[in-house]
């Protein structure tokens, strides 16, 4: 099996409503899978199930052959990197301390940590002079770069990105998207990206999974979705977004 994560008939309900319903999904190693769909379609829930912020009601999720459960989740989390909108940086810590927090608690050596920070600054094009600033002293794009660095500190096997660029202005977003693609290609990073922006998904994703009402409606390349939409929803979703791009 080449897939790093397996979802098998996973359902999660909030009250009477299904957030995800009988989802089967594989996230393949070394690829970026873009999970896309309208608001409330359940794409963020998929991501939160992997991190263990939620637990599935039924079905099973495996990470590298291991079932995600209360006993395993702490170990699995160390093998994940998680980036959210605006970076999720802790405002009371400088950029550097945001980066060193996790490796220090996991008892990494100081010189190793420093070496890793230098590497990542270069990789993410973050000026090392900004390392001793607090999050509120950084721009939105810089915060997002630090957020990405923090997620990559321990070389995670899976990078989870939850609408990472949604709050940024278009120019900054474009630069970041380009840099992210370059980084992930270089690292051969397995990525699960959640976005509602088809252009972003098309640009970054090796593969796209389109979700609606808690289920995966269609998977494939953007060209497949465009050429052979699985149903009326897919056609509408794609044409609506394409319409915006053409403006």
């Amino acid at each position: 099996m080449n897939a790093l994560v397996h979802f098998r008939y996973v359902s999660k309900r909030f009250g009477a409503d299904f957030a995800v319903r009988d989802v089967n999904l594989e996230i393949e190693r070394g690829k970026m899978t873009a999970l896309i769909g309208p608001s409330g379609c359940g794409k963020s829930t998929i991501l939160r199930l992997i991190v263990g912020l939620l637990t599935a009601d039924t079905g099973e999720i495996q990470f590298d052959g291991e079932k995600i459960a209360a006993e395993t989740i702490m170990k699995i989390r160390r093998r994940l990197g998680y980036v959210i909108q605006d970076g999720g940086l802790f405002p009371h810590l400088t950029a550097r301390h945001n980066l060193t927090l996790q490796p220090r608690l996991f008892r990494k050596r100081c010189d190793e940590i420093e070496k890793r920070i230098t590497e990542l600054c270069e990789l993410t094009k973050f000026p090392s002079s900004g390392l001793d600033r607090y999050p509120l002293e950084l721009s939105g794009g810089q915060r997002q770069r630090v957020g990405l660095m923090r997620a990559l500190m321990l070389s995670p096997e899976l990078l989870l990105l939850d609408e990472p660029f949604a709050a940024l202005d278009p120019l900054v977003r474009m630069n970041l998207q380009r840099d992210l693609k370059e980084i992930c290609t270089r690292l051969q990073q397995t990525v699960l990206l959640v976005t509602h922006d088809l252009a972003e998904a098309a640009f970054l994703g090796d593969e796209i999974a389109l979700m609606n009402e808690g289920q995966i409606v269609q998977r494939g390349l953007i060209a497949d979705l465009r050429a052979k939409p699985a149903n009326e929803f897919v056609r509408e979703f794609i044409s609506a977004q394409r319409g915006l791009v053409q403006l």
Binding site: G52, M74, L80, Y82, I84, Q85, F90, L101, L105, L136
Partner: protein, 524 residues
Amino acid sequence: MNAPQQSRSGGLSPSRRLLRARGQTAVYLRRRLGSRRSLLAVASVFLSVTLVSADPVFIGSKKFTESYVLAEIAKRALENAGIKVEHRPGMGGTIILWEALRGGGIDVYPEYTGTIAEEMLKQPGASIAQIRNALSAQGIAMTDDLGFNNTYALVMRRDQSEQLGLTTISDLRAHRELKFGLTHEFLERRDGWRPLSERYQLAPSQVLGVDHALGYAALAKGEIDVKDAYSTDAKIGDYGLVTLIDDLHFFPQYKAVFLYRKTLSSQAAHALNDLSNSIDEGRMIRLNSEAERTKNYAAAAQQFFGTTDGAIATPFVSESFRNKLLRWVTRHLELAGISLLLAIIVGLPLGIVASRGGAVGHAILGATGIIQTIPSLALLALLVPLPFFGISARTAIVALFLYGLLPIVRNTATGLQDISRPLRESAIALGLTAGQRLRKIFLPLASRSILAGIKTSAVINIGTATLAALIGAGGLGEPIISGLNLNDHVTILEGAIPAALLALFVQFGFDLLDRVLIPRGLRL
């Protein structure tokens, strides 16, 4: 200061406490070990008994002039008999004194037969013999009366009573427009305002609750027209007031007596009983007047002995203001500081638990909220009868600690709850354990709110610590209560101004502390 000397320690002296405990241990050992070890037990009982007898006799008094003066007279009488005595002046009220006497926090205090029957034994109209029996069952003895009846009375300004032609309480019925200013105790007593107004069918348009000493000033100024008084109050003469005749004989007899624990040595009991029938009403009014004029209760007590025995009164050496202030402030900070520290130690974890919500969280916030609504005097009255509390600094500290909890618990809980979900989840996703998340992320993020809670608690505690003086625990409340009692503004200010400055200083200190304890990233 004009108040009598205060004991340095607020509560039972440590040796006394220790010895009590040792006595209990001995009893326990005897039960536990049986006859084989009884020798050891007997020895330890013997040891503790002999040492306990060296402890001073503790005399309590209520916070009004006559009680202070009588306590000082008892003190002097016991000292003349060669007994070591400490006076704990100006405690909160009947219930606090009574519970302290029963619990052993004090050994003697002056009381009135009417109060004993009505308030303490709940046997209105009981005879002296009945009172003695009932007290005896609780381990308390009573002297014969001291020679005067200090009953309740209603008083008015002389000019107004003459103008309206009022001489009896019944005459008040026709004058509903008169403003009544009554003490809170009188308003609530079983032999107080409610039954009195029923008996005389009084329905005045306005009845206010006013502190006793302040009430006299209000009466003199014409802000109120009728007030409750004790028939031996010095102020009746000082302010030119008249006592309205109790024509329906409503008020019971309030003969002054000393109550004392039956464990008191026979020598001490003798000395107290020798005081019976030695003070008539005229004499008591003069002693009260003397005490209020000189603002020195001990001196008034000395005058009593000076005129009866012809003994030369030793000059009263008054403590310098600087020393007194230092003593009050030190004690005040001690009370507020220790209670604040306890409130932080207990409040922070409670706040953390409460931040998680659920039934437990709501119960914690509810309970701390309810404590806050209990009036301070009531909280003291609830604590004093409990074992380990009594009349002591300990009780004051626990009361202050309870009052200090709510701001800390609430602000800790809110501060933690206000942390945004993305930050919360980022911390979880980083793989930090619950403890690491709390220490490294959540508490620092909530630090501003938590510190604000601690600051509020500190300022509240500085203010509320003045109540400690009600149970003889000292602090800046001492001059405030004395001043209220004597209607002496200067004395009130001697306590009130330092207390206010202290609160400002503490506020300022915490503002500085914010800069150190709140992470810089949150202050941008």
